[in-house]
Structures are given as structure tokens and as C-alpha cells.
């Protein structure tokens, strides 16, 4: 419970903000971090006292099946349930009203979820994605930058909502960047990324084919990588340079281990490039120059603004993680997730004696009552303050009007009760 900010006028009425559970909430989670994105929201929802239905992804059948098996063993099935399925099952879930729906996944499906929720007036939060750009200041510490960018791209084979999607850098620095990335790649994978257990795979054949298609159709040049193996759903970390804005690799969120580099003239062009596209979930800037960072962040919009690293902001305690526009709405981590599933129920408890002061609110309404009320804040403390300061014109009514040089002056009296309606 939170006490409302103290107000002399209302404290006898004991205003209190109760933090209450919303009720029964639904979370639809994706395949890419199938444990964390299934259980993370569950933690916040349970902490906030809700009942929880989870619909984990059918694209990660082994993990989803395991969650469905384990959760009832550890948690009370009267409170938490798992629903397994794909489109028909999800559709049925969405026909029902929920106290809140959390959808984590793609923008395309999010629109379907929101449209369904609209029919039941269910509030929805969405954690989506998009293309998270990386703006590199050529003067930055490139070695560290390359390491952190490569790491962000390689984790889960690039299937992360905040994976660095593409790089923007001045043309003449492009090759330097490629070299630094390659050096890091070789450090990470001294044998080969295809070695079992060191590097992820694409979740299914459909996505593998999607990514391979984007790569094949690209007009850019593969600087290194580009190895694929359909049986294994393996795509090696791949850097593609000289990519243009209308390239296949720039047409959708990659969600794979392919990293296009889009050469630009300067940081202004990079900013314009970003602003011409959907608000990203995260915007990355690599620079040690405060002015450079400020320029990029101040002139763009994104879910999060991260300098000099990738992915880590999701793990920072107390930072609200969320998108804006097509990248989503609603915030996560710790208390933010708790708040997502909490209803602030305002409450007042008004003692009888209060009417001795507030009795004036009851009709018949008289001039005297206006005056009494104005003294008790209904009229606004500022009016009372300015009455003293600015030499007010006082008329028939106590509704004193403040005149000052910049205010268009106008006079008004309280008219006689009008017989016209």
C-alpha cells in the first residue's frame, strides 16, 4: 500500500493506494529464451498475487513440454496452468477475457493478440523486436566494441530480441570494423562455430530457410562466414559489408547470426537512417565521446539506449526494459513486471465530521459556499497564492481572477440565475 502524497485538504479522508492483484493473467512466450521468457513474467505475476496461465511456444516443443510437466510439480496447479498448443489453442485463449495479457514475440502476431484483446477490453503488454541498430564511432575503442558486438550477435545464434541487428559506420571505417569482428570471431571459436555445443542453431527449418533466403538475395558482400548446413540448421556467424538500405537483409528483423554493415557518410546520415524506420527495441552506440552519444540518443527514439555494450541492459536490476511503437509497450524486470500485473486501487475513507468543512459541496449552491470551497483548495492553491501576489480584481464573487501583463484580461461577474435553458 502506498500513502498518497500528503494533501492538507484531503488527509482526513485517508487516501491510500492499494496494490492489488489484477486477477488471472495470460502470458504467451516465445521460443528463443524459452525458460526465461516463460518463467520471468510468471515470477512477477505471482509476486503480485495473480493466477497465471502460460502458453509457451510450440516452436520449442521439448522445453515447452518440460515446463508443462515440471511446473505442476513445483507450483500449485490451482494457481498456475500451462496450455500447450499452436494457432487454434492460442486463438481460443484469446477469445476469453483476462485481467492482463503479456505477449512476447513478433509484431505481426502482436497485432492479432491486441485485436482479440480489444474485444474483451483486456489490457495487453507486448515485448516485440525489430532491427536494433549499432552506430559505431570510428574513433571508439574498436577492439572492445567488436568483442561486445560479436558476443551480442552470437549469443543464441542471433535469436535475441535485442541482438545487434545491423551496423552503421562511415564508409572508410568499414574494413577496420570487419577486421576487428573477424579477430574476435576467431578468438571465440578457435576450432569452428559448428563444433557441437559452442554456438547455437536456428530454431527450425522454416527460419533457417528464411535466413538463408535473405542472405542469398543480398546485394552486399560476405566479408566472412556464410557457411550453412540445412540438416543441422546451422548458419555460421556472417558479416556482410556494403549493404544498402533496400537490401533483403534490411527488410525485416534478422533474428539470426548475420550481421550487415551499412556504410554511411556520417553520424547525421546514420540518425536519419534510423529515424526513417520503425522505433527499435534497443539502439546501440559505441563511442567514448559524450557528444557523439548524446547526439545519437537525443535525436532518436528507441525502447532502450545502450552505449558500449550489447544485451546487458536486460540484466540490469531495476532498469525498466520495454519497447516503444512497433517494438512494444509495457516494462519488465523485477518491480516493473510486478507493477505490470498489479492494479492500483485508490481508496478513501471519509469520516462523518468532514462534512462540517465540506458540507458546502451539497446544494443549494450559494456564493458563500464558493468562498468556503476556494479556501479549502478546490479552487487551486495557486489562485490563493496569486491573490496575494498580483493585486487581484475582486468582484461580486470570490472567484478572483488573476491579471498579469501576459494574461488577456477579461472580466466576469456571477450572473443572476438564468431562466433560460
Amino acid at each position: 500500500m502506498e500513502k498518497a502524497p500528503f494533501s492538507l485538504n484531503f488527509f482526513p479522508m485517508r487516501p491510500v493506494i492499494r496494490k492489488e492483484s489484477k486477477g488471472v493473467v495470460l502470458s504467451i512466450s516465445p521460443f528463443n529464451y524459452p525458460v526465461w521468457l516463460a518463467l520471468g513474467p510468471m515470477i512477477g505475476a505471482i509476486a503480485a498475487g495473480n493466477c497465471f496461465v502460460l502458453k509457451p511456444s510450440e516452436l520449442s516443443p521439448a522445453v515447452s513440454g518440460l515446463i508443462a510437466e515440471l511446473v505442476p510439480k513445483y507450483l500449485d496447479p490451482d494457481v498456475v496452468r500451462i496450455v500447450l498448443g499452436a494457432v487454434p489453442e492460442t486463438t481460443r485463449l484469446l477469445e476469453l477475457p483476462w485481467a492482463h495479457i503479456l505477449y512476447t514475440g513478433s509484431g505481426r502476431v502482436a497485432k492479432i493478440v491486441c485485436a482479440a484483446a480489444a474485444k474483451t477490453l483486456t489490457p495487453v503488454s507486448t515485448e516485440l523486436g525489430g532491427k536494433s541498430p549499432v552506430v559505431i564511432d570510428p574513433k571508439c575503442d574498436l577492439q572492445t566494441a567488436a568483442k561486445r558486438i560479436m558476443w551480442g550477435k552470437c549469443v543464441n545464434a542471433g535469436q535475441t530480441c535485442v541482438a545487434p541487428d545491423y551496423i552503421l559506420v562511415p564508409e572508410d571505417a568499414q574494413d577496420k570494423v570487419v577486421q576487428a569482428l573477424k579477430a574476435t570471431h576467431d578468438e571465440f571459436y578457435p576450432t569452428s562455430p559448428s563444433t557441437a555445443g559452442v554456438f547455437g542453431r536456428i530454431v527450425n527449418h522454416a527460419h533457417f530457410r528464411r535466413l538463408k533466403g535473405l542472405l542469398d538475395r543480398s546485394a552486399g558482400e560476405i566479408a566472412f562466414g556464410g557457411e550453412t548446413n540445412e540438416n543441422d540448421k546451422y548458419i555460421s556467424p556472417t558479416i556482410v559489408k556494403n549493404v544498402k538500405g533496400d537490401d533483403s537483409l534490411m527488410s525485416e528483423e534478422l533474428f539470426g547470426p548475420i550481421l550487415p554493415i551499412v556504410p554511411v557518410k556520417n553520424v547525421d546520415e546514420a540518425i536519419a537512417f534510423i529515424n526513417d524506420r520503425d522505433n527499435p527495441l534497443t539502439l546501440y552506440v559505441f563511442s567514448q565521446d559524450a557528444a557523439f552519444k548524446a547526439k545519437v540518443f537525443d535525436n532518436t527514439l528507441s525502447g532502450s539506449a545502450v552505449a558500449n555494450d550489447t544485451l546487458v541492459h536486460c540484466a540490469v536490476d531495476g532498469l525498466p526494459f520495454g519497447g516503444i511503437g512497433p517494438s512494444g509497450s509495457g516494462y519488465h524486470t523485477r518491480k516493473y513486471t510486478f507493477d505490470l500485473f498489479t492494479h492500483l486501487r485508490s481508496s478513501l475513507d471519509s469520516p462523518a465530521w468532514v462534512d462540517a468543512i465540506f458540507g458546502s459541496r451539497f446544494p443549494p449552491y450559494t456564493v458563500r459556499l464558493f468562498h468556503v470551497l476556494s479556501l479549502f483548495g478546490h479552487a487551486g492553491d495557486a489562485i490563493i497564492d496569486s491573490i496575494g501576489k498580483e493585486g487581484v480584481v475582486s468582484q461580486v464573487t470570490p472567484w478572483c481572477q488573476v491579471t498579469s501583463p501576459s494574461t488577456p484580461a477579461c472580466q466576469w461577474d456571477r450572473p443572476e440565475p438564468s431562466s433560460e435553458r
Binding site: 477490453l121 552505449a307 546487458v312 486501487r345 478513501l348 471519509s350 495557486a382 481572477q401
Partner: protein
Amino acid sequence: MSDILTYTPVEEIPKIRDDLRATFKTGVTRSFEWRKRQLYQLARMAQNEAEAVCDAMTRDFGKPRFEVIVAELSAVVRIALKSAEKLEEWARPEQPDVPDSQRNWKPTPWNYPVILSLQPLVGAIAAGCCAVLKPSENVPHLSELLAKLISKYLDTSAYRVINGAIPEITKILELQWDHIFYTGNGRIARIVATAAAKHLTPCSLELGGKSPVVVDAAYDMELAAKRILWGKCNNAGQICKKQDELVRGFEKAYKAFFPNGALDDADYGGIVNDFHFKRLSTMLDRSQGEKAGRDPARRRLEPVIVKGVDGNDSLLEEEIFGPLLPIVAVDSLDEAIDFINARPHPLVLYAFTEDPNVKERLINETQSGGIAFNDTFQQLAVADLPFSGIGESGYGYQFLRYSFEAFTHLRSSVDIPKGEESRLSLRYPPHKPEAYQVLGSAMNIRIPE
């Protein structure tokens, strides 16, 4: 198009949005000084134009001057000034780099047309957004006036009013907005939310429903009656044990409020239009309870207390939104709670009782947007309390800081220095066993019993 209200040409609507978008891109709304100036202008408008506003309200539906000034205009002044005072603090990082959402659309209702239109606008201005306001066509005089006044007092490159009805609203809903704040009813709210879904636009829906009043038999009936009658807006089912005493309390309060009867009293408002007058009349006619006076010519309906109402009565089918107060007699608190829970979550639950057990049970066993003990309506005056519904009564909070937050995006930011590298490098492949131990140390934490 009505003769009083000028509808905005449909073709102009996308251009209005584009203009505001362009303004937002210039960054002018970022300046705290700029926002404060706009907020002061809004406050000035509420003060200086009070007369014109009261007049328009009288023409539209006879709303008493007292209600306009106290419940609406003064609240706008106070909230605008407080927001101006606080916005810098609200905008400060704690939330690093708080950028602003862009444009918001607020279709607003007709019942408290000033406060409900302008209060969200205050939040939007404080948060540095550009905004379009679509006021209700059910109060044509006021909405026409608002269009004129907003353009006179505020910077029109950032704030615009669009007037109209279904075709204009449909056009507005086709466009992308960064947030939509809708105040009104559940039917339209579904249309708004469906349209917003196409662009993944977040919404705030401030709706209504039937706000029940539970009256504990032990409570002072006269006092309860007085406060309930006063809070006549949105009052729907009232549930209590001692109906007759309550009814006598109402009779007494009614005589005190309106010594000459309400139909002719200037301090008592009229029904907004013929459609709603007929709706209320029909609802009343179909009710099985006992009723009283009306005046169709002036669209005035006396406050009517109807006793002996049961759960299936016409008066309980939908939100009344008029001065009819059905009383449903129940035998116990259990029955009252069941009655409430069998219906959609109300916007507000009122209860008149001093008994802490009754309060406790009502708090714990029901859900509602807000809960108010021993008074009605007054909770809206505490602007520092977040106001919202739950379930059918809507979602999204408003007033002061909450309005500000509705229109603000928390943009998280981190800046990781190179110096952290020695600690962070454990995360890079190839992964040594040490990496699992350090980064995966939670796997060995002791969990409490």
C-alpha cells in the same frame, strides 16, 4: 454536421497528424519551459474563460454553474499548475533519457467535458507530447468553444482539436498515434482498442459501468443518504438492509438540497440529449420499483429513488448514467458481495460502514477500479490518487503524475566502460568452467524453506 458544432473536414485529419509529427520532430516540446508555458496557458484559459464555459454547458445540458466551476474548471487549474510545478521532477532520470512519446489522441466524453478533456491534455503537455483532442459531439456548444479556446491559448503547431462524429472518428482511428486515451463507454472502447491494435498503439480506457453502493445497516442512514444523493453521478445499484430508513434519509436530504424540488432548480442539471432522456425514461418505466417526476420538454429528470429492486430489474441491466437510484435489499454482507461479484468489475465501489470487518471483507473479496468508504465521488477530487478502472471499467491510470506517466516512455540506458571488461569477459566463448561458477552462481544459492 450540427449547426452549432463545426465538424473538421475528414480530408484535413491526416494533415493535422502530420503537422504535429513534424512539430514533435523539431524538438520544441522537449523544453520544460515550453511545457510549463503551455500548462500555464491552459490554466489561464480555465480561469479567464470560465464564464463562456459555464454558458456553453448551460446551453448544452443545463449543468449547474457550481458543478462546472468546482468539479471541472478549478480542477483543471490546480492540476495544470501542479503538473507544471512537478514535471521537471517527474521527468528527471531515475529514468535516464526520458524521451517523449509523440502524438496522443484523446476522444473525450460529454459528462464532465472540461475536466475529462483537459486533464489528460495536461498530462500530455507535461510529458512533452503533441496532442489532438477530440471532444464529444454530444455537447456541441462546449466542444465548439474548446476548439476556439485551445487555438487561442495553446501553440497550435503542437495542440489541435478535431470535432466531428462517426466519419471523423473513423478517420482518426485509421491513423497511427503513439498513445490513445479514450474516456467513454465499453462499446466504443472496443472499437478504439481494435483500431489501435492495427498500429500496436497503447491505449488508456477510462470507462464506467455500474458503481455499487453498499450500505451497512449500522451506518447513519441520514448521512449516507446525503452523501449518496450528492454523488449522484454514476450511481447505480445500492445494496443495503434497511431500505426504508435509507429512503427516508434520501427524502430528507433531497428536501434539504432542493427546497423547491429539483426540476426547476438551477443547481440541478438536465439530461444531455433526447436519446438519453428517452433511454432513462424507458428504463424507469420498465422497472418494477416505485418512481417519480419527469419533464421531457426540458429533458429534466428528478432524482428518483426506486426501492424493492431485484437483480433482474431493467435498472440493473446497464450503467444508468442518470439520476435514478435503485435500491436492492439483501440479507447479508455475503449476499451483497456475491451480487457485486456476479457483475462486471465496477469503476468504483462505495460502502457506507464504520465496521472494520465489513471494510476488510469488501476490500479483500471484491475488485474495482477504486474503493471509497463513507462518501461518494470525493475520491476524484484527490488528484494525487491514480484513477482507473479494471476489467469492463477500463485500464490505464490518470491524474497528475499518472497522466504524465501514461504519455511517457521510460527509455532505459546503460553505458558500459572498458574497465568492466575483466569482469565481463567470462561471458565470451570458449566458456571455461570458472565462467559457469561465477555467472551461474545462483544455481547453488540456498533457497529458504
